[in-house]
Symmetry: C2
Amino acid sequence: MERDHAGASELRRSDLARRTGCNLETIRYYESVGLMPDPPRSASGHRRYGPAHVERLNFVMRGRELGFTMEEIRGLLSLVDRGSHTCAEVEELGRHHLEVVQAKIRHLQAIEAVLSETISRCTGGSAPDCPLLDVLTDRPAVS
Amino acid sequence: MERDHAGASELRRSDLARRTGCNLETIRYYESVGLMPDPPRSASGHRRYGPAHVERLNFVMRGRELGFTMEEIRGLLSLVDRGSHTCAEVEELGRHHLEVVQAKIRHLQAIEAVLSETISRCTGGSAPDCPLLDVLTDRPAVS
DNA sequence: GTAGGGTCTGTAGCAACTACAGGATCAAGG
DNA sequence: CCTTGATCCTGTAGTTGCTACAGACCCTAC
C-alpha cells in the first residue's frame, strides 16, 4: 500500500525540475517570490507538485527565455489568473517588452560598432601603442 | 591663507564626480573593489583627488560604457599599470569582449524575432485569445 | 537497520551598483 | 566667533535573477 500518495501525477521537486529543465533551487526561489504558488506539502513537509505546477513553471520559464523580467511575468500571470484578460492587455505588455529588447539591441550594436572598428585598427604587435587603449584613455587618434 | 591644500588640482569627491559624470557613490565603490586606488586623505579623513584619479576614473567609465566587465577592466588596467603591455595583449581582451557582445546581440535578436512575429499576430481586441499567451503556454498556434 | 539518496530551512554569494542612516567636518555669512 | 547648510565619512542594505552551500531531517531499498 502506498501512503502519502494522492494521485498518479504527484511530483517531487526533483521530478518537477527534471521535467521542466528548471534548476531545483530556482523552483524554490520562484515560490519564495510568489511567481510559483506554494505547493501542498506531504505530512513531513515535502513539496508535492501537480500538473498545474508544471504548466505554470513552463510559463515562467518561457517568459524568462523571451527576456521578460520577473515583474513582467508577474503581470502576465496576474492577467491570466484574473481569468478575464484580453489580447490587448497582453499585447501591451509584450510591445513594451519588445521595445526594451530593441533598445538593448541598439545599445549593444553601438558598442559593437566602436569595438570592431577600433580593434580593426589594432596592429596586434608587441608595441604598446594600441587604438583600443587610445579609445579608453580618450587620447585622440593620431591623425 | 588656505589650509589643507596641496596644489591647484586637489579635488573633493563631489568635484571628481561632477568632472567625470560618475556617481558619487560609485567612486567609493570602485575604490572598495580596487578599480580605483585609495586616494590620499586630508588630516580629517576627506579624500583628495588629483589628475591621475580623473584619468583613471575616465578609463574605467569608458570601459564600462563599452560594456567591459569590471574584471575585464581590471585586466586592462593591470596591463597598463605594468607599463610593458603590447597592442596584441590589449587586442585579445578586446576581441574576446567583442565576441561576448556579438553573442548577446544574437541572443536578443532571436528574442526580438519571436516577440515581434508573435505580437504582429495579436488582434489587440478584447478577446482572451492571444498569440503571445499561446507562445508562453506552448499551446500550438491554431493552424 | 542502515546506507544512500533526496528533501528541508536559512543564509550567503555573484555583478555593478545605488541608497540610505547617523555622525563628523567644512566653508561662508552674519 | 558662531551658526547654518552643504559636504564628507562609515557601514549596511537593497536591487535582479538566480545559484550554492551547510546542517538537519526524511525516505526508500536492501
